[in-house]
């Protein structure tokens, strides 16, 4: 079994770590960013805790998981000092040719204002050869 869909998992909500200069610069150093804005375009990846929790609830084996697509929609820029509220929900899972495609959506708000929407897509398969 690649995924346990016996019950649709409840959305995961959490408060992310505040955006500090150190956290933003640690991220930029890790990606060896030379030109990034104060907040790197893919900084939204730091809000994926809910995704990992949902994948765990779905009993997904990380050895069989590959991230296939990532989509960000930006509604307002993040600022230093922001304390993001994050909600991640299971969208759907589709089985095709022995593989399972999983879609998760994350919305990030700061003081009620939607700043970022993210859709992450994954494939689960028995043999994970790139």
């Amino acid at each position: 079994m690649l995924i346990d869909l016996s019950a649709e998992p409840a959305p995961i909500q959490f408060t992310a770590e505040p955006l500090t200069e150190k956290r933003l610069s640690d991220f930029k150093r890790a990606i060896r960013a030379g030109y990034a804005s104060i907040v790197a375009p893919s900084y939204g990846t730091t809000f994926r805790k809910g995704e990992f929790d949902l994948l765990d609830t779905l009993k997904v084996d990380l050895k069989k998981l590959l991230h296939t697509d990532q989509n960000y929609e930006y509604f307002a820029p993040f600022q230093i000092g922001d304390i993001p509220e994050v909600e991640t929900q299971f969208v759907t899972a589709k089985e095709r040719r022995g593989m399972v495609f999983v879609y998760l959506e994350t919305r990030v708000t700061v003081e009620g204002e939607l700043k970022l929407k993210s859709i992450s897509s994954f494939v689960l398969r028995e043999n994970n050869k790139g």
Binding site: D26, A30, R32, G34, S37, T46, R48, K49, L62, Q70
Partner: protein, 132 residues
């Protein structure tokens, strides 16, 4: 600064990916999947060694956008990537792109891709930027 449809963006080559970088990235991003950190685990998943986070390549591509469209002048509205091929420590990733279209309101749609040292596309994507 003006752009034209089909105009190529200035490419951006990153230094070779290292295992140390994958550890830094795991810490900074919160993605601690052992497939990126532990060779034994990665081998049991069918890979010859740890594989780089796909999101690291997307981050390189994000830097390409900022390089060509300085955040002081442009605002990123959408950014999407499809991970086509896994990357490994030692791989040299170069992000490239071109202007796909510009609409009447000045919204610029970009076609993006990342290549490894043998020219294979590892990531393909699209982004939309507007004037700030």
């Amino acid at each position: 600064m003006t752009f034209e449809p089909n105009e190529l963006l200035k490419p951006l080559e990153k230094p070779p990916i290292t295992k140390e970088q994958l550890r830094d990235y795991a810490r900074a991003s919160g993605d601690n999947n052992p497939i990126h950190l532990d060779d034994t685990f990665a081998k049991s998943a069918g890979f010859p060694s740890v594989i780089a986070h796909g999101m690291l390549s997307m981050a390189f591509m994000g830097d390409l956008i900022d390089f060509n469209f300085p955040p002081s002048q442009y605002r990123l509205k959408q950014f999407s990537c499809r991970f086509k091929k896994v990357t490994f420590p030692g791989d040299v990733i170069t992000s490239k792109g071109k202007v796909k279209s510009i609409d009447s309101e000045g919204k610029i749609t970009l076609t993006l891709w990342a290549e490894n040292q043998t020219g294979e596309h590892t990531v393909e994507g699209e982004a939309v930027v507007i004037r700030a």
